[in-house]
Subunit: 352 residues, 2 copies
DNA sequence: TGATAATATGTTAACGTTAACTGAAAGATT
DNA sequence: AATCTTTCAGTTAACGTTAACATATTATCA
């Protein structure tokens, strides 16, 4: 019967075999302090031979840092999350930090579990990109209070020492609507207002601002969404919401000629409903989405949408966090709100 | 100026304030050993008051385990990865384990970095779902040799103590091809053979087996793919490959009447090329994909595809790993190859 | 040449936790 | 009443690493 697990090789083993003190081995392994050419060689030989790897737990315990950052994501199935995660990882790697990702599946309890995992494993800092919720926010506040560096991305969270990065959903919503107005539309619907998602509300507000600016009166019946609790709803399922919302809009006596959907998934659902009704996009109804997910290129017709700079959000979040980690004192909150870009495709304009 | 980071609260602090020994506090916190009702209450009061959380590094160091599992993914942007990750997380959570996800972006160096992060942080076990590569595999072998529990998912890796879970790509490829043959097709192309992806090769082999069984001779010109190094190619970009490969197929004097694409992205690219050529799916050319990504429902027409049980792979991987972690002795390799399911949609059959 | 600086290694004491052991008091058992 | 068992709590010694300090040797300089 094989041994359960080979005994861990420690500094002590290396020290004994190479005839030096543990401290000398530590110096060799870390490249710190003075070590003679000769000793260095001899120690490294044994290190390689025994395949020694420093024990992270012991190291963290002594050093009081782990060179590790946690990223908490609410919903992996959203392209936003994956692009963000990659960008964060990449920019952390440059500075020698590892990234551990936790998924919380949009539940308060799992948010808390994820935060705790990271704190308990002494992550040097945490980037949070989950949807806001009371329980999670309370725990997050306590964590920030305790001095752990935290950055939030694309979600609300006010704390005097927590940085904030987000796309400018307000202006994005404004520009999407403005685009439809420029095309001559007057009856423009907003699809997918969700009263738990701040970002969605910002997009709605941008829509309302654009209407107001152009003297178009907002029609409540044209603003549709779900009031149901959706705290556990993944990105994809908003498609169903788009489909159902659009059906409702189509049954109005005076149906809209254009729709601004809260995100691309919602837009895709709406397109399905429009096609089922035998109507043509964009001639009968024009439609704009949000996020520029890969999906948007594959719809028929291709979807006009608002692109938010996800990679940049990841980069800034990583940089802000590292900044905070290496700072000698507690820094004040920094906020970065990034411009969105309207991507015009065939779902609003025939010529394109 | 605020202090940099609040001093960590330790067992010692709790012990002092509640007038007991550290060990007693430890017992209270962990719910182990005997502690009187009264002492328990008094200690917990202080624990809550000071918001004490045990130091994970110290705990791991002493206990020699972390109740943490690592998952290494090659490419987050693939729906496969996200579903797998969720499933793994869920099934680990049931048993009280946390999941840390690392992304390697399909490079050998980053694979190694990810493995090392996890080993160094004393993860109790590792689930690997990256694409196989020499450098990474070598490191992985050393890790497995050292006694760390490892399970690989959907990729090759032979090691006497590493478990293996995968979809049955061979039979999947066979069934997809069989379906096309059943529909009367004789000239069936295989699109996207990639000589670095074992799974893709298995699907190709299934295709060849089906042809052979029905006495259809394989035509080399109908088997197209890229020979270029694609070790860093994310899932999405195989769409371009599908588009270009399909163009090549369409330019043949005797073009195929059906195409089996290595995955849904490739199939989508192919569909684009077919439509651009003014041909109709499935009347002129039928097409089958693989993976049943969410995309497959949104193509026009909806894509016939082979669904692999991703959630189940995650569940089994988690269970096998936990099994290995809690085993008293080193277990022998277990292999699980899971059935795929053909999902027939409109890209092969008009009636559906 | 003696003093100062740079180089090279070793020793000690933590970091925060818990397994293993010890001791004492209270309850149960004969 | 003597013995055994259960309950409760404290002491000691690690887990593997490294910061801080101590010491010894060699090179450098006025």
């Amino acid at each position: 019967m094989t041994a359960l697990k080979k005994k861990q090789i420690t500094l002590k083993d290396i020290a004994e075999r190479s005839g030096v003190a543990m401290m000398t081995v530590s110096r060799v392994v870390n490249g710190t302090g003075y070590v003679s050419e000769e000793t260095h060689r001899r120690v490294m030989e044994v290190v390689d031979e025994l395949n020694y790897r420093p024990n992270g737990a012991a190291r963290s315990l002594k050093r009081q840092r782990t060179e590790t950052v946690g990223l908490v994501l609410g919903d992996l199935s959203n392209p936003y999350s994956t692009v963000l995660a990659n960008s964060v990882r990449e920019h952390l790697a440059v500075r020698g930090y590892s990234l551990f990702i936790c998924i919380s599946e949009q539940s308060a309890q799992e948010d808390i579990t994820a935060f705790n995992s990271l704190v308990d494993h002494n992550a040097d800092g945490i980037i949070v990109a989950t949807r806001s919720n009371t329980g999670g926010d309370k725990r997050l506040e306590a964590i920030a209070d305790s001095g752990v560096p935290v950055v939030v991305v694309g979600r609300d969270f006010r704390h005097k020492t927590v940085d904030f990065v987000s796309a400018d959903n307000l202006t994005g919503g404004f520009e999407a609507t403005q685009h439809l107005i420029d095309l001559g539309h007057k009856r423009i619907a907003f699809l997918g207002g969700n009263y738990e998602s701040r970002n969605s509300l910002k997009r709605l507000q941008g829509y309302l601002n654009a209407l107001r600016l152009h003297g178009i009166e907002a029609d409540k019946r044209l603003i549709t969404g779900s009031r149901e609790t959706s705290s556990r709803v993944p990105g994809y399922s908003t498609e169903k919401m788009g489909y159902e919302g659009m059906k409702r809009l189509l049954s109005l006596p005076d149906r809209p000629t254009a729709v601004f959907a809260r995100n691309d998934f919602t837009a895709v659902g709406a397109m399905l409903a429009i096609k089922e009704a035998g109507l043509t996009i964009p001639q009968d109804i024009a439609i704009v989405g949000f996020d520029d997910t890969p999906l948007a290129l594959h719809t028929m017709p291709a979807l006009t949408t608002v692109r938010q700079p996800v990679g940049l959000q990841g980069q800034l979040a990583a940089e802000m966090l590292l900044n905070r980690i290496s700072a000698k004192k507690v820094l004040d909150r920094v906020e970065r709100v990034l411009d969105c870009e309207l991507i015009v495709r065939s779902s609003t304009v025939v010529a394109v």
